[in-house]
């Protein structure tokens, strides 16, 4: 028997009170942990997914939509831009490098992205199996795509029109899997990569039924090399070719000032800054996060109050215990600590259960709502902030117990014992 066990015994002697307080504290902590895991990871994902991209240029429309579509691959495109205009833009002095994106098709709910190798390189993607795409109609799969659809190297599939599962199949022209990528935790894991020409090929093949297409293969007389799409010779009749968007890296910070204004003012295209739009998005979510966080702090405050009241009342009933223990040789400090420990026991348990519950909640949401698991937010990581939360939790227990514990110093042992 020591004071740690003693304080635990006192809590056990009032199981319902103790349970209520632990549950209250657990709830408060769990909500904070969920928000912490969610917002920290979301912030990381936002930053991770927008790094290396200074500007996205797409068709006129909502800049947030352009970012959501071209960076996070969750919204639909605002439309297409002419390759010709994109080519013009690359001649601008402020543009250091560009990456084309051609969207519109999907397979099994995962987007097929016609792009250049620079796109996965931007995210430092590495091959897990096979190779990168080289020829038309070859695809390299992101990690989740390969795992979820179970496609192996050499497998062939038809793309579906549209970005959702229910689009009609293109048929006839098949994509062929040549490789898959390692897990990155970024949006890359959910994409199917190919070159822009493949996306065009699928769509042109469809259009051939309607219009007579006269494409003169190998005619290089008036051809010029594309500055946007690698290994592409542009012919005059290619002037109507389209891509969805263009990811741009500035040559200097001056680009951030001049280029968006130039694009929005002088072209039919719309420029959107990933950093700015992501921050805007996060601040919108942030309001919700703050409201729920405030709610969690209220719960924790109520838990603290409840611990305080429970301890205060129970110490009133225990004044004989205190006096008797003093007569048995207990010092005031020892009894003071034992009361403080009662508060700390509750908040320690609450913090541990709350942290566990928070992580399980995130994992539970991932299981129940599969799309959230694709965002890469997981309950299996622990943040430094959670340690701080634990310390803060113990501090709350300490504060709740201090005033009741001070009664120990006020106890008039002789007076209490003389009464019977």
């Amino acid at each position: 028997m020591n004071i740690t066990k003693l304080s635990w015994s006192y809590l056990k002697a009032k199981p319902l009170n103790t349970l209520l307080n632990v549950i209250l504290f657990t709830l408060g902590i769990a909500i904070i942990v969920v928000l912490l895991l969610f917002s920290k990871q979301l912030e990381n994902k936002l930053n991770q997914n927008t790094k290396g991209i200074d500007l996205v240029v797409g068709a006129k429309g909502s800049p947030l939509q352009i970012i959501l579509c071209s960076i996070f691959h969750i919204d639909f495109p605002t439309g297409n831009i002419l390759l010709q205009e994109a080519e013009q833009l690359t001649k601008n002095r402020q543009v250091k490098s560009v990456i084309p994106l051609a969207l519109g098709d999907s397979y099994g709910g995962y987007r097929i992205v016609g792009t250049s190798r620079d796109y996965p390189a931007l995210y430092q993607m590495e091959l897990e199996l096979g190779s990168w795409w080289t020829k038309d109609m070859e695809v390299t799969l992101g990690y989740n795509v390969a795992k979820q659809l179970g496609l192996e190297i050499g497998a062939e599939f038809e793309g579906q029109h549209g970005l959702t599962d229910d689009g009609h199949s293109h048929g006839e022209i098949l994509y062929k899997v040549v490789g898959s990528l390692k897990r990155s935790g970024s949006v890359m894991d959910n994409l199917i990569f190919t070159n822009v020409q493949s996306v065009w090929a699928v769509h042109e093949h469809e259009n051939e039924h309607e219009e007579l297409h006269s494409h003169s293969e190998g005619d290089t007389t008036n051809a010029i090399a594309s500055r946007v799409i690698p290994n592409l010779q542009l012919h005059e009749e290619d002037s109507l070719k389209e891509i969805t968007s263009l990811l741009i890296k500035y040559r200097s910070p001056m680009g951030a000032i001049q280029l968006p204004r130039y694009i929005n003012g002088n072209t039919n295209m719309q420029a959107a800054s990933p950093a700015f739009e992501a921050a805007r998005l996060f601040s919108l979510i942030g309001v919700g996060v703050e409201v729920i966080q405030g709610f969690a702090y209220i719960i924790i405050f109520i838990a603290m109050l409840s611990i305080f009241i429970a301890l205060y009342n129970s110490l009133k009933e225990r004044k004989y215990d205190l006096a008797i223990m003093r007569s048995m040789g207990a010092t005031k400090t020892k009894l003071f600590i034992s009361v403080i420990l009662e508060g700390i026991w509750i908040t320690l348990l609450g913090s541990l259960f709350g942290t566990l519950l928070g992580h399980l909640t995130i994992e539970g949401i991932n299981i129940l709502v599969p799309t959230t698991s694709e965002t890469g937010i997981t309950g299996r990581i622990f943040l430094e902030e959670e340690l701080l939360l634990l310390v803060a939790g113990l501090l709350v227990g300490l504060i709740a117990a201090v005033i009741p514990a001070i009664q120990v110093f006020r106890t008039d042992i002789s007076g209490i014992l003389a009464k019977g």
């Binding site: 028997m1 020591n2 004071i3 003693l6 015994s9 006192y10 056990k12 002697a13 004989y320 215990d321 008797i324 223990m325 003093r326 007569s327 048995m328 040789g329 207990a330 010092t331 005031k332 400090t333 020892k334 042992i413 002789s414 014992l417 003389a418 019977g420």
Partner: protein
């Protein structure tokens, strides 16, 4: 063992009690008798260091209690003095043997289960060692509180009206156990009481 001299306790500006000088030998047994309100409990608390006198001195085992500071006094009390009160006042959150383990811990004595079981056995409480406090009868609870008082082999046992709420049968039993335990543990015993039933049991007495 006990020696008090010029002992005065001041309750407030109007009320003060002065106690006669008094000695008790090691292993001595004595009653403190008197009407209620005459300071029996106060003297007992002064002897046990629960109260500090306004003036005078209290020697227990050659130690002047008035010279000890707060926590020194707590330690001295834990190791040298055992208390028995009118009501058992066991810690209800603990079972019987845990109450005794707590007594060892608070006195700064290492946990000694054998000693606990030995004391429980002599007080016929061995079967009740894991019982909750509220499951005990009045007599059993008072015996448990005596077990707690003698557990650490104190030099002095102070009992405050230990029998006044008990019937004749229990009273006889409790006083017999107290005298018996004090003798076998080698402790001096002082009982503050107005219970006339005890007068025949203990020869020496201090009348206030």
């Amino acid at each position: 063992m006990i020696s008090i001299k010029d002992l005065i306790y001041q309750y407030n500006s109007e009320t003060r009690i002065s106690f006669p000088d008094w000695q008790l030998d090691t292993r001595g047994q004595a009653l403190i008798l008197g009407k209620s309100g005459c300071g029996k409990t106060t003297l007992l608390h002064l002897l046990g260091g629960l109260l500090q006198p306004s003036s005078g001195s209290v020697f227990i085992d050659d130690q002047d209690l008035t010279k000890l500071t707060g926590s020194e006094l707590d330690h001295f009390r834990g190791q040298h003095i055992g208390f028995v009160f009118q009501k058992p006042h066991l810690i209800k959150a603990l079972n019987v043997q845990e109450n005794l383990f707590l007594a060892q811990h608070l006195a700064g004595i290492p946990k000694d289960k054998e000693r606990v079981l030995e004391v429980l056995k002599t007080l016929d409480l061995l079967e009740k060692r894991k019982s909750k406090v509220y499951e005990l009868s009045e007599g059993q609870a008072q015996r448990a509180s005596i077990a707690r008082a003698v557990l650490n082999k104190p030099a002095l046992i102070l009992a405050d009206e230990p029998t006044s709420s008990l019937d004749d049968e229990n009273c006889a039993r409790v006083i017999e156990i107290l005298l018996d335990q004090a003798k076998s543990q080698g402790a001096a015993l002082v009982i503050a009481t107005h219970d006339q039933r005890l007068k025949n049991q203990v020869q020496s007495s201090l009348n206030l």
